[in-house]
């Protein structure tokens, strides 16, 4: 532990901020999107300073986000026949109004 981590551990323990893994993983996901409260943030930092499994969960959660986001950017061509149908549809709408 670095001295910074020791301070966080001492602080969290003395305040009775001990998280179990279920709570820690919940907060980890919340933190991906939102700022946690001061208490939540410190309690989580303390837990993450020693819990190898939750550290692995955090890494994997980030990998999943990255893979999902990458996946969402793939370009798939629309079949030509569908495009032709759509073109006809747009044209008929354009000139009939």
């Amino acid at each position: 532990m670095t001295s910074d981590e020791k301070n966080i551990a001492y602080f969290s323990k003395s305040m009775g901020w001990n998280l179990c893994c279920k709570q820690a993983t919940y907060l980890l996901l919340k933190q991906e999107e939102k700022k946690l409260s001061f208490k939540e943030e410190y309690a989580l930092k303390f837990h993450m300073s020693f819990c190898k499994l939750c550290k692995a969960f955090k890494r994997q959660s980030e990998m999943m986000n990255e893979a999902i986001n990458k996946n969402l950017q793939q370009i798939i061509l629309m079949p030509k026949i569908e495009k032709d149908n759509l073109k006809a549809l747009i044209n008929s709408n354009l000139y009939n109004n």
Binding site: C20, C21, K22, Q23, T25, Y26, L29, K30, E33, K34, L53, C54, A56, F57, R59, Q60, S61, M63, M64, N65, A67, I68, N69, K70, N71, L72, Q73, Q74, I75, I76, L77, M78, E82, K83, L86, K87, L89, I90, N91, N93, L94
Partner: protein, 200 residues
């Protein structure tokens, strides 16, 4: 006012298909994982855009404007799925993996990872993670094993610019319910990917 006219976008419906059909189709397909649905969404987007084109003020680009219409349609679809899931209540309960599968509930230490379902190291090489085709398939499979409402919430989370507050509003769920769904869905997705993707 300055002499330099602000650049105003204009609409060119005749060119929409050539310019944007592939982009919009990909955007939709990547989010609904179904060709028919994606095609319908793109068609509805163009038709809505045609109807609304007099209201287009040219502040956003033509593409941004079309994407925003498509996004609304996707959100409506997710909302419909969440309100009227094709799964019955009992079915959707079957899809839910209990918290106790992942975390201990008894004994001196509660809420610790269960040994059998705790995260195992993922030895994903660069090459592995780039095998996007394989991943896409497994991802869709794992998503289909979630209760419908959860997969709607999960999908909305990744629809760009959707913040949790908006998702709660769209799907009419409370914010604490949202975080529990995200938590449970992610635990389930993680386990499913570990079993099927990482070891593949």
């Amino acid at each position: 006012m300055s002499d330099v006219a602000k650049e105003i976008s204009i609409l060119n419906p005749e060119k929409w298909i050539d310019s944007y059909a592939d982009y919009l189709y990909s955007f939709a397909y990547n989010r609904v994982s179904d060709e028919e649905t994606a095609k319908d969404l793109v068609q509805e987007t163009f038709l809505s855009a045609l109807k609304a084109r007099d209201g287009f003020k040219g502040e956003a680009s033509e593409k941004t404007w079309l994407v925003s219409i498509l996004k609304r349609k996707i959100i409506d679809l997710y909302r419909k799925n969440a309100a009227h899931p094709q799964q019955s209540f009992e079915e959707s309960e079957q899809y839910k993996v209990a918290y106790s599968h992942y975390f201990t509930e008894l004994g001196f230490i509660k809420g610790e990872w269960n040994k059998t379902t705790a995260p195992k190291p993922w030895n994903v090489s660069e090459k592995n993670s780039i095998e996007q085709k394989e991943f896409k398939h497994i991802l869709a499979q794992c998503l289909s094993k979630l209760p419908k409402v959860w997969s709607s919430v999960f999908a909305l989370k990744y629809l760009e610019e959707e913040e949790s507050e908006n998702i709660c509003k769209e799907l009419e769920i409370t914010s604490s319910n949202y975080w529990v769904i995200i938590h449970r869905a992610k635990l389930q997705m993680r386990e499913c990917l570990e079993k099927n993707w990482i070891k593949a």
